[in-house]
């Protein structure tokens, strides 16, 4: 009996310490992109290059922060080769922490300078935009909101809402507004929102579900949620924010990708970055529903959304992502004070 127990214990200990085969070509990718979407891209990459992807996915509750913090912890002995982020602010924070390595991406010559780091540390691609999601049964077309300010200036009796600007893409939107308008005017916008009767909910998907169910007449969400809403319900309409002539356009929240300094498979990391920035891969991401707009060419939008733009190109908010870092602390402090009870 004792011998059997010892044998089992030894075997268990062996399994506890054993890792994976070192002979296979691998690339370690930390990603905050939803797993349902990112794993499709990983499988395609593996098929095309023969390099096995070892991913670490983030969870929604961590709001990208978990992986960012993990990368910081691993700074002295990096384990990750590429950070593929579903948004951009945390990638910029990593640049400031000296975690990233510059890389001359194949996109360099064509991309809008707003979406590429001046030191080549990160590149933004693809993207989601902010839209109004409207329940057609509850609101007539004449009364549709068109501008972001309609959300808090309109004194209508409709129930309307947005996701909490303390977290996620709502927070990125707040940073965008601050960058565009300046600290004081930006704060005033969100102070007005906090003082209005707008319903602040936990996430964009909640806004989507409340609009579909008719508990909210309209709300602001991202285009990926809007697509899900269109698939789920026939009573949904979409309005892209601030598309009129005198308005500033809607904010694009791009994905971002960066090479990690000193990663174990640096060469494979570069191959992955080139792969993800290929037009075909971005097209695939649009097809599977992860992104809805290609920021390299604003005329290209997900087919389901084109009709809502009357075939015009999207008017995009002119925010240079190289400038946004100076607003991080201020926005975070303001949003916490205004939107957490």
């Amino acid at each position: 009996m004792k011998k059997t127990i010892s044998l089992i214990s030894m075997l268990m200990l062996l399994f506890l310490f054993v890792g994976c085969d070192n002979n296979i070509q691998t690339v370690v990718i930390y990603t905050s992109v939803d797993r349902v979407y990112s794993e499709i891209i990983f499988k395609d990459f593996e098929r095309e290059t023969g390099i096995k992807v070892l991913p670490v996915y983030d969870i929604e509750a961590n709001k990208t922060v978990g992986l960012t913090k993990r990368l910081l912890l691993e700074k002295k002995r990096p384990r990750c080769d590429v950070f593929w982020n579903g948004e951009i602010t945390n990638t910029i924070k990593l640049k400031n922490e000296n975690i990233l390595q510059p890389y001359q991406h194949i996109y360099k010559t064509t991309v809008n300078r707003n979406y590429i780091d001046e030191d080549n540390m990160w590149i933004a691609f693809g993207g989601r935009t902010r839209v109004f999601l409207i329940n057609k049964d509850l609101i007539s077309q004449k009364e549709y909101p068109t501008s972001f300010s309609d959300l808090y200036k309109n004194k209508d009796s409709y129930t309307k809402g947005m996701a909490n600007p303390v977290f996620g893409t709502s927070n990125t939107y707040a940073i965008g507004v601050y960058t565009l308008l300046g600290k004081e005017k930006g704060y005033k916008v969100f102070l007005d929102i906090a003082n209005s009767d707008i319903k602040i909910v936990t996430g964009n998907s909640v806004v989507r579900d409340l609009v579909i169910s008719g508990q909210m007449a309209y709300g602001i969400t991202d285009t990926d949620d809007a697509i899900v809403a269109l698939n789920k319900s026939n009573n949904i309409d979409i309005v892209f924010i601030d598309q009129q002539e005198n308005e500033k356009g809607t904010l694009v929240i791009p994905n971002s990708v960066a090479l990690i300094k000193g990663g174990p498979n640096n060469k494979n990391g570069k191959i992955f970055i080139d792969y993800i920035l290929k037009a075909e891969t971005i097209q695939k991401m649009i097809d599977i529903g992860w992104i809805q707009i290609n920021i390299q060419d604003n005329r290209y939008v997900d087919k389901k959304l084109i009709s809502f733009l009357n075939n015009k190109p999207i008017k995009v908010m002119d925010v240079n992502y190289n400038d946004i870092q100076k607003y991080f602390k201020k926005v975070n402090k303001d949003m916490k004070n205004l939107f957490l009870q």
Partner: protein, 488 residues
């Protein structure tokens, strides 16, 4: 109730708490902390009272109470997210959503979430009321309820404090309803780029508070008057009452029906493909963690029970492990292994193994496991150990005999609790999971996002079913060994 020495320790902790509050946290954070305390008090008071009443009516009107216990155990594993949305949907039907405040809905959902915990503890307590104490109290009281009420002060405090600690440390439910409790504040401060050390310092008030409460609970256990607790011989069951059956069926059915509806459209082949990738890793790390934790905590509990050297240090470590939030646990383990790999690079091959995950799980479940065995030793007659000491000088041999013949119940409870805690762990594991690997819980939370609630529901259903099977198998094994021992 408390010895003079203990009062001094608690005073030191209170002074530390006050200092840390003044030094490291702002006035605004102090207000949030106080608000969190009142939030925790409301939740735990309601849960403890409701749990006591529910347990009382259940034990009186449900014949097969063990089955209810197993179902509630399995039910506890459903992630708080599912509870939150299930109950939110339920409340939206009967209440005007605009009228619901973040505080109210967070408290209500936490009550729904923690109710099985309190009910299980109360039922176990009723079953283990010492028969002598029960009979003595019953002499002076005609009604069963008042008999229990008179004996329940200590267990009331114990359950109240346990739920209070879980409530004030809970991040998920308040964050879903945008109610700013202290863990939400810590997380949002951490997200704003504050360093780990500063985040740890901000967490200090909550850590000190948890240590303080745990210490009070243990003072109760150490000083309580009944050491040799045996199962009560009293038969509580009177007659079948369908109201309590309907209550439990509805309570359990609402989230499960919701998950079934969500999962109905899913292609199960896809779900099994997901499970194939992470099920084995999840199960093996949980089992490793359970075995190592049980062995380690058993020796530690014995060591502390026999009042050897450094027991105070062991207590401090146990209390610290108990009070550290999950994410901080993950960060500490990650940091520790970064240092190990830096100085011992030949150990690098273990990076892709489950070693760090197992370490995180052990840290999380060791205090609970230790407490269960410590209670076991308190209730064990010291003469038993002395008797075996007469026959052998080998402590390991004595502990081995005691483990298999006297600690079976505690081993069973321990395995279930540690396994459930391990398989449901998230905050710490996410910080150390090796690339390319995943646990079942992490996978569920990976998919918890746009449009994939069908996959999440299917995975949750699988998880509930799996935990139910594990609990049932453990119970069958326990009964088998129990019978075997009795025949011997």
């Amino acid at each position: 109730m408390l010895k003079k020495k203990n009062v001094i320790y608690i005073s030191i902790i209170v002074i530390l708490f006050t200092f840390s509050s003044y030094l490291f946290i702002s006035n605004r954070q102090m207000n949030i902390f106080l608000k969190t305390i009142s939030f925790g008090i409301v939740t735990s008071l309601v849960v403890t009272i409701l749990g006591a009443l529910l347990a009382y009516f259940s034990i009186k009107h449900i014949k097969n109470i063990t089955l209810l216990l197993i179902i509630l155990f399995a039910y506890m594993i459903i992630p708080p997210y599912i509870h939150s949305f299930a109950w939110l949907n339920g409340f939206q039907i009967i209440l005007n959503q605009n009228a619901i405040s973040g505080f109210f809905i967070s408290v209500v959902v936490q009550i729904c979430y923690f109710l099985p915990w309190a009910t299980i503890l109360w039922i176990v307590y009723y079953k283990y009321i010492p028969s002598t104490l029960f009979d003595e109290t019953k002499l002076n009281s005609n009604k069963l309820f008042f008999t229990i009420y008179k004996m329940s002060k200590q267990i009331f405090i114990f359950i109240f404090m346990l739920i209070f600690m879980l409530s004030i440390n809970d991040f998920t439910i308040p964050s879903i309803f945008a109610y700013n409790t202290y863990p939400v504040e810590i997380m949002s401060t951490y997200s704003s780029g504050v360093s780990f050390i500063n985040t740890f310092l901000i967490s200090l008030p909550i850590i000190i508070m948890v240590i303080c409460i745990t210490y009070i609970i243990f003072s109760h256990f150490k000083n309580n008057e009944y050491n040799n607790i045996e199962q009560s011989k009293y038969n509580y069951y009177t007659k079948r009452n369908y109201i309590i059956y309907v209550f439990w069926i509805l309570y359990i059915a609402i989230p499960i029906i919701l998950m079934l509806i969500e999962a109905s459209s899913i292609n199960f082949k896809y779900v099994f493909e997901i499970l194939k990738d992470n099920f084995l890793f999840s199960i093996s790390s949980s089992i490793y963690a359970s075995i190592i934790t049980i062995v380690l905590s058993y020796y530690l509990a014995f060591y502390v029970y026999r009042k050897r050297k450094f027991t105070k240090i062991i207590w401090i470590i146990i209390l610290l492990l108990f009070s550290i939030p999950s994410t901080v646990n993950g960060i500490i383990v990650n940091k520790l292994y970064q240092i190990i790999y830096e100085y011992l690079p030949w150990l690098d091959f273990t990076y892709f193994s489950s070693i760090q995950v197992v370490h995180v799980l052990i840290n999380k479940s060791l205090p609970i496991s230790f407490i269960i065995f410590y209670i076991g030793f308190i209730q064990l007659d010291e003469k038993v150990i002395d008797y075996y000491k007469l026959h052998s000088n080998n402590t390991n041999k004595i502990l081995y005999v005691i483990f298999w013949y006297y600690m079976k119940t505690y081993l069973f409870i321990n395995f279930i609790v540690v396994f459930i805690l391990s398989i449901g762990e998230l905050g710490g594991t996410i910080m150390v999971i090796p690339p390319g690997k995943s646990t079942l819980t992490i996978t569920i939370y990976n998919y918890l996002h746009y449009g994939s609630s069908d996959i999440v529901s299917a995975l949750c259903m699988f998880m509930v079913l799996f935990v139910f099977v594990v609990v049932l198998c453990s119970l069958l094994l326990y009964n088998y060994f129990d019978r075997k021992n009795k025949t011997l």
